[in-house]
């Protein structure tokens, strides 16, 4: 897979506050991001011949009809939920490498006017599986991941100071970003004064709830050379996960060594091997930040520090744009810029590698993007320029 495909187009709607995208429909937001992405690539919408989704995807039949795409040759989605956001690019690459499609869209979008993601687990239908957690009052992912955070604190001495550093470092990046939802600098006092939603997670440990859509266009590396934008090379895009992680937060029976983790360790190992790079080679990481504690656990699972040392790693200033060895979530992340099911991270990695990011990392050559820690599949992506 290495270097055979590239991201050549990028499109996004504004990041709206929850509910503020009305009266646009979700399909409309998706379509707008796709049209923006093909225009950015110097392509026409008629050139699209494939869709590679995650989290169940969107209605390809409807999109094809309404956008006027003549023929679709590939349409598929990764299973699972937000875990697949980075891996959808790998799915697109697989379609292109196998000759099934040439110009593939990956798109993520959400609209939370009717249903907040923050309380989504309470809205799940009654199933035999859900009956084993619904009574406990875990009504949102933030409650569930708080259990992992507490265990990490217990095992490794991680503290809320460490979570605060993640929140503040990422907020500092949002300050300069005109697309960001929250641009006021966050102080330590701001963090500790925030309401406690699911101890040890306070308000600022939670990601935003936005409406919006982000799309990218993936094509062959060969074709990418003739298009408008500087190609962003796909070095590796993998998804999957180990049995030990499995249904993760909906199961809570992960072995002790992987309970307080992001579930990404297996995918991370394969991702680096496929890309032929190591953690020290990564110039910037766009890490799925639905919760600050999960940023720390992903930094461990992706080998930027040893297991259990994620708290100390962030406390050292390592993830800061200014002075850090690994600038993380340079757009302000899902914590402060915008939440579009992980696709904002793909967008920011592409902008960093094009050299057009608001908070440009000097000489950024390799970027890591992660999908959401959730049920398997989880996923990762390494891009280069």
């Amino acid at each position: 897979m290495r270097d055979k495909t590239a991201i050549v187009g990028l499109g996004a709607t504004p990041y709206y506050r929850r509910g503020a995208s009305a009266p646009q429909t979700l399909e409309e937001l998706v379509g707008k991001s796709i049209l923006a992405a093909v225009q950015d690539a110097g392509l026409r919408v008629q050139d699209i011949d494939g869709f590679a989704y995650f989290a169940g995807g969107f209605d390809t039949a409807m999109l094809t009809e309404t956008l006027g795409i003549p023929e679709i040759r590939f349409t598929a989605t990764l299973t699972g939920t937000g875990g697949g956001s980075a891996g959808a690019i790998g799915l697109a690459a697989a379609a292109i490498l196998s000759g099934q499609a040439e110009t593939v869209v990956c798109v993520g979008a959400n609209q939370q006017g009717a249903q907040r993601f923050g309380a989504i687990t309470a809205a799940y239908p009654a199933t035999p599986e859900n009956a084993f957690f619904s009574a406990s009052g875990l009504v949102g992912p933030g409650h569930m991941f708080a259990l992992l955070a507490r265990r990490h604190m217990h095992l490794y001495g991680t503290t809320r100071e460490d979570f605060a550093e993640v929140a503040m470092a990422i907020r500092a990046n949002a300050v300069a970003n005109p697309n960001a939802t929250l641009r006021k600098p966050m102080t330590r006092e701001d963090y500790f004064n925030a309401p406690m939603l699911a101890d040890p997670h306070c308000l600022f440990d939670f990601c935003l709830e936005n409406d919006g859509a982000v799309a990218v266009i993936v094509t062959s590396a060969e074709r990418a050379r003739d298009l408008r934008q500087k190609p962003v090379r796909v070095l590796a895009g993998h998804h999957g996960g180990s049995r030990d992680w499995g249904r993760s937060i909906y199961w809570m029976n992960m072995p002790d060594e992987s309970f307080a983790s992001s579930g990404h360790a297996a995918v991370a190992k394969r991702l680096y091997a496929a890309a032929g790079v190591e953690p020290k080679d990564i110039d910037t990481a766009q890490i799925y930040d639905h919760f600050t504690s999960q940023v720390i656990m992903q930094l461990e699972d992706y080998g930027f520090c040893a297991k259990g040392e994620g708290g100390a790693f962030v406390r050292s200033g390592a993830i800061r744009l200014k002075g850090g060895s690994l600038p993380v979530n340079t757009d302000g992340g899902q914590l402060s810029c915008g939440y579009v099911w992980g696709m904002t991270h793909v967008r920011e990695a592409v902008e960093q590698l094009r050299g057009t990011a608001v908070n440009q990392v000097p000489d950024a050559r390799l970027a890591l993007v992660t999908g959401g820690p959730s049920i398997i599949p989880v996923s990762g992506l390494i891009l280069g320029n």
């Binding site: 619904s134 009052g137 507490r150």
Partner: protein, 146 residues
């Protein structure tokens, strides 16, 4: 000092299948049981159709002591959906069950000062009967002396 309460009862939605029904049948009798592989002895919860160790489908429903310890917990003290306020604070917890090979149950710690709850705290099951559904929900309180 805030005492750990119970989450809104309407959040519990009972649904069962062949593999989970025996667990809920036992709750009606206020018995905590766990799925154990009849062939290799591996415990698994929630119950599923296959043993992950030997792929057997034979299950023995092993009665447990009802004791365990707090593996992790969170404190929900703020409503994120309507109707929650009257039930705050409550404490969702993961409980390692005694005598069941380290398997865990997602439940709540109740009827104790929130500030006294710790990872590793010994707990024992108490039962909340569910109105009209013929089952009970297991929750946990600190182990009392004797």
């Amino acid at each position: 000092m805030a005492i750990a309460r119970r989450p809104p009862p309407e959040l519990f939605k009972l649904s069962t299948n062949t593999w989970t029904q025996p667990f809920w049948d036992a709750t009606a009798r206020h018995e905590l049981v766990a799925a154990q592989c009849t062939d290799c002895g591996h415990f698994r919860m929630p119950p599923t159709p296959f043993c992950p160790c030997c792929q057997s489908q034979r299950i023995t429903w092993t009665p447990l002591s009802g004791r365990g310890e707090v593996y992790s917990y969170t404190v929900v003290a703020r409503a994120i959906m309507p109707g929650m306020n009257a039930h705050l604070p409550y404490v969702p917890a993961v409980i390692t069950l005694e005598g069941a090979g380290g398997i865990r149950l997602i439940s709540n710690v109740v009827d104790v000062a929130v500030a006294d709850i710790r990872v590793g705290m010994p707990v024992q099951v108490v039962w909340d009967d569910v109105d009209g559904q013929g089952v009970a929900v297991p929750r946990f309180v600190p182990v009392t002396a004797g």
